[in-house]
Symmetry: C2
Subunit: 342 residues, 2 copies
DNA sequence: ATGAAAGCGCTAACAT
DNA sequence: ATGTTAGCGCTTTCAT
């Protein structure tokens, strides 16, 4: 591998001069600069990152932590983040935390091993000591699409958004609602809160044991499990709020298999507005998050922290939007309703 | 940040000894080893990767190159690869190549900047000089789910698989078939070949201008475009072969919007068997690739190359499988058919 | 079994 | 404007 010394030797100059050229410093004779540039081109020289990051004590690399089961929403998000980060000159290094016991700690160890400039968390880690450790690392850290007290973060108001989704159902006339959400992750909890708030506001009694089912992952597969469980309890509901679109997709599959029509028999609303949701049959009513903006801001603000332009913890809430499509409509009229209206 | 020197100082020993302990060398007094281990634990010491990779001239990191538009199939694949690589002790560093002009070159530069142990390509790069450059790097490189002459690779037989998918359609009685595929990427081409081979075998004339549409990306969105284009030409077809499931999903959306039923009016078959395909309505008939095995083998074989156990180029073809679900059936009977049968 | 010293490729402070 | 030097954190001879 060709090094800075090789280039210097070929040019008959010192490594410092080459270094100056590589790093675009001003004080270099322009003829020499040109010569060095040609040599670099000719030899295909690229500075060794490891060496550079050793002396600089930074790597121009930011780490992104996310679950290795990341969903399509997160997949889109991190693409946006990565792109923007690239425009600021950062490399991006992904750390996938697995479901296994010690994976979070391993991840932390890896983080430490690299001289990262900053960290973005898209995955919400379970172990609180993780956050403590990161704090000790003195590493700029920002959470995206969820928030954790004490850390900068970019996100929508999860509870309000869920509330709005469920209120849409209530406004349509639904009184018997169910929810599929997830335990453990804070956004699951916040979305559940929104669900209950909408119920309460509508004067519907809160009976979590009947109304909700909690699953372990935000995947279509778990959406299936959730819906099966719900159906096992009873069929006495006309609408379902799923905490993510993936969950909704799995739930709809089961509904369909059980011969229930969507939305005529059961309305379904999701959360996230992943790509596939507008292709699905029926197209899914859902909450859309401003993904691009979340991504951009996340990258931007981390950059500010890294370059020292931003000191205090900033927490940014971006607006969500309810997207009404085909998976929701007024509930089927019950026998009582029909009786009343005649 | 605590370094090996700090640990050495605290232990009252030399950095060499600490290094030996960290790297699990035998020749260390076991009392001292224990003491050092405690110190390491207490201080949360993690070796600096950059420093280590400088002296070792390797990084225990492998790079994975993929398009930043990677689809769900690839997403699953790289998770498997990453996992397996981890079990061999490698870190994984992702390089997303974007659609922009010079992105492939930038990617190459980044590759060079890291001291990677090896490279896995999931994305097929357009520029042939890319492969030349990588060859010059002397870096073990393996391609996964596509293949390129001269490089080791793990993949299914794309052409055979596509042939089988289309033959399924033909066996069902379809004579008027269309295809949505992609130009540029070799698997698009190979899948197209399989399509034509099945047609020819069935004695159906090959008229590419009518029968095929080529799009730029393997996404549902482009599947929509492709189907719109097809429909614009004529409605005289009873089956569509889409080169990926995403394409199929987009295509089905348009079909549905045009009032065509799947599969009663038009049969659709995809390729890849991504998760969502079995949730979709109708469930998609498709070709499944042995994703897990592809991932495992890719990681395993790269590991062999890196550790010098494998020298010559090995090319492994794994078996695919046709999964028949709900999106295909016999074609609607044409007027002539009905006439004949009476 | 252990320590001292050299060196990996680079940058920056300090000469000149 | 340019070269010399030291040193980033680590591993690995080479002594002892």
């Amino acid at each position: 591998m060709v090094s800075i010394k090789d280039i210097a030797k070929q040019a008959g100059m010192s490594p410092s001069t080459v270094s100056r050229v590589v790093n675009g410093k001003k004080n270099v004779n322009s003829a020499k600069r040109k010569e060095i540039l040609t040599l670099i081109e000719k030899n295909g020289y690229v500075p060794n990152n490891a060496a550079r990051s050793m002396v600089l004590k930074r790597s121009f690399t930011v780490g992104i932590i996310l679950a290795d089961t990341f969903n399509m929403f997160q997949r889109q998000l991190f693409s946006f983040i990565e792109r923007r980060l690239g425009s600021f000159g950062y490399n991006t290094h992904f750390f996938f935390v697995k479901f296994e016991e010690n994976s979070e700690e391993e991840c932390l160890a890896k983080l430490k091993g690299e001289k990262l400039d900053g960290v973005i968390m898209i995955h919400e880690v379970q172990n609180p000591s993780f956050y403590e450790s990161v704090k000790k690392l003195q590493l700029p850290l920002i959470t995206s699409t969820f928030n954790r007290a004490g850390f900068p973060s970019i996100h929508v108001n999860e509870e309000d958004a869920a509330y709005e989704a469920v209120r849409h159902l209530v406004n349509l006339g639904h009184r018997k609602l169910k929810m599929i959400s997830s335990k453990g992750l804070s956004c699951g909890g916040q979305r559940a809160e929104g669900f209950f708030r909408a119920l309460e506001e509508a004067g519907i009694r809160r009976t979590p044991e009947e109304q909700t089912v909690f699953v372990h992952q935000y995947t279509a597969e778990f959406g299936m499990y959730g819906m099966k469980e719900l159906l096992l309890r009873d069929r006495d509901f006309s609408a379902v709020f799923a905490a993510t679109d993936e969950l909704a997709i799995g739930a709809m599959r089961i509904l369909k298999d059980e011969g229930l029509r969507i939305p005529e028999d059961v309305s379904v609303v999701g959360f996230d507005d992943i790509d596939i949701s507008s292709y699905f049959m029926p197209r899914l009513t859902t909450i859309s998050q401003p993904l691009l903006e979340i991504g951009e801001r996340t990258a931007q603000i981390l950059h500010k922290y890294i370059s020292g332009e931003q000191e205090d913890v900033m927490d940014i809430t971006l607006p969500h939007k309810l997207i009404i499509r085909e998976s929701t409509c007024a509930p089927p009229r019950s026998i009582e309703d029909i009786r009343k209206s005649t």
